[in-house]
Amino acid sequence: MAISRARRNRMAELGAHIILLAFAVIALFPVLLILINSLKTKKAIFRQPLEFPTSETLDLVGYTTVLQQGNFPLYFWNSLFVTGASLFFILLFGAMAAFALSEYKFRGNRLLGLYMALGIMIPIRLGTVGILRLMVTTDLVNTHWALILVYTAQGLPLAIFILSEFMSTVSSDLKSAGRIDGLSEYSIFFRLVLPLVRPAMATVAVFSMIPVWNDLWFPLILAPAEHTKTLTLGAQVFVGQFTNNWNAILAAMALAIIRCLFFTRSSRASSFGA
């Protein structure tokens, strides 16, 4: 009896794993396709798209083009810097605003919270013209800060919305104890509350990062100069109106994917650590 139950459990486990594996294969297949095709000649890409590169079809021309033609290490750094800085400011100011909204009772508190939440519903791109004008007058066009400011504004509403929910669950006795022990409001925020909402911070970080990293619109409009180009904008060089340089596009995508894996790993680590 006990044995058969154990066996049944193992069967159920196996079934679950088969289903999960199937999903994983479906999800990873396009990624694999990009990776293997980025290593092949152009002809091989179109003739045998599903084949692994052989000694005849192996060709690193995509990567050499990418690394030589565009200044990809720089684009990469631009993307990394802009995303990293935006993320930092989104989390910092988002958490601070969320703390203020959930902790302090003041006139217009709710209205302010609602106003912040409105940003989730209204896409920031609607304001592109205004933003561009603002950037021109403040002389920020073609700087990293143009993008960082816009992305911070873009990410804040969701961050505030999620974090203020979490902040209100932090024990008020704990904050009171901190005040009696002589901690400043800043210490209470940074030393007591932030460590307790770390899981929520990790969630917000992941949600905010993806649209920033993938964005093409604002880099194209606000910072298209060579020295501020981001990876997504840089890769556009190979997308022509009539012909695409598939080798280079696939290589650029492969490079971006590899970096993404690193990012996911680090954010997973932070959410488990909480």
């Binding site: 006795d173 009171s176 009696i180 002589g182 007591l192 460590p195």
Partner: protein, 365 residues
């Protein structure tokens, strides 16, 4: 050691008055308990003392110096919370050290003070653990330790035992009582549990609806409740109340026209009077007798060392009577309730106020 004085303190949230003119004088070294049902304003009063909440009007002074304008950390008070409120990322030692570090003590002094408090509360073995690795009772001990290290003028306790299970509650209660004996510090303790209040307090402040109902020693409150609220709030099971038909200068007549030989000193006798008597001052008899009230048994609660019998009088008023557990009664049994005259309280039912009574000695002809 310090006295704490609260004068005409008001607190309102919007239109709602949470505290309605509180005057309180807490003596140096006194253990004062704020007791009342939830929502009576006792916790708000404590939080205002701590400076965590602002008063709408009034003043608070420690040793005759106003502290109303000071932030919590400058008031020289310490607070122990219901949820312990230990810093989760710090060890027990870190929790106890934090306040001293903030206050800028030297390393040597911090070490000495923490070690002393740890020894007093037997926390030595736990010093390097995180709060999550402690049991509820241990956490509350650490919270108390964190309060002691700072050597405050006044200790504030906000329902510190409410999150503990029954067995631990008794144990920690004892520890708090011993702590008060040893430190002889001024302590203010908020609770809704009358057992905690009765056992710990030098004086109890009974609160209801943002007002102080009565201030007195546990014995005062139990034996001479100032009004109907205190009478019904203190004591378990609660006091029995019977409506009087008529009150004269030296007799009280119940609804079923039983006469009781109690006299009162009221200059004007109110028309609407309530008689109160505790279950322990009543007795049950099988046979009728002079001044006994006829009743029917509704329910018997057997508690081992005592039994509470719920009965219904002919006037359909209900009473609880304490009885020897050896006697067993059945639902529907006819019994006769004797009211112990020495335990009778009278209250003006309109104002709720207590009326002074005395027993009329039977005339010896």
């Amino acid at each position: 050691m310090a006295n704490l004085k609260i004068s005409s303190l008001y607190k309102s949230f919007g239109a709602e008055n949470v505290l309605d003119g509180i005057d309180l004088n807490i003596k140096s070294g006194e253990f004062l308990v704020l007791l009342g049902p939830s929502g009576c304003g006792k916790s708000t009063l404590l939080r205002i003392m701590a400076g965590l909440e602002d008063e709408s009007a009034g003043d608070i002074a420690i040793d005759d110096k106003s502290i109303a304008h000071l932030p919590p950390s400058k008031r020289e008070i310490a607070m122990v919370f219901q949820t312990y409120a230990l810093y989760p990322h710090l060890s027990v030692r870190g929790n106890m050290e934090l306040v001293l570090k903030q206050a800028g003590y030297s390393k040597a002094e911090i070490k000495e003070r923490v070690a002393e408090s740890a020894r007093a509360l037997e926390l030595d073995a736990l010093m390097d653990r995180k709060p999550s690795q402690l049991s509820g009772g241990q956490r509350q001990r650490v919270a108390i330790g964190r309060a002691i290290v700072r050597d405050p003028k006044v200790f504030l306790f906000d329902e510190p035992l409410s999150n503990l299970d029954a067995a631990l509650r008794g144990q920690v209660r004892l520890e708090i009582a011993r702590l008060h004996q040893r430190l002889s510090a001024t302590m203010v303790y908020v609770t809704h549990d009358q057992v905690e209040a009765m056992t710990l307090a030098d004086r109890i402040v009974v609160m209801n609806d943002g007002e102080i109902q009565q201030v007195g020693t546990p014995r005062d409150l139990y034996e001479r409740p100032a009004n109907l609220f205190v009478a019904s709030f203190i004591g378990s099971p609660t006091m029995n109340f019977l409506q009087l038909e008529k009150l004269t200068e030296n007799s009280a007549q119940l609804k079923d026209s039983t006469q009781l030989p109690v006299s009162n000193k009221a200059s004007v006798i109110p028309s609407n009077v309530m008689l109160g008597i505790r279950p322990s001052h009543c007795a049950l008899h099988d046979k009728a007798g002079e001044g006994y009230l006829k009743a029917e048994v509704l329910l018997e609660e057997y508690l081992g060392d005592t039994t509470y019998v719920h009965v219904e009088l002919e006037t359909s008023e209900q009473m609880v009577v304490r009885e020897n557990p050896e006697i067993q009664r059945q639902t529907g049994d006819e019994v006769y309730v004797e009211l112990g005259i020495s335990g009778v309280h009278l209250f003006n039912a309109d104002t709720g106020k207590r009326m002074e009574v005395s027993i009329v000695e039977p005339e010896t002809a």
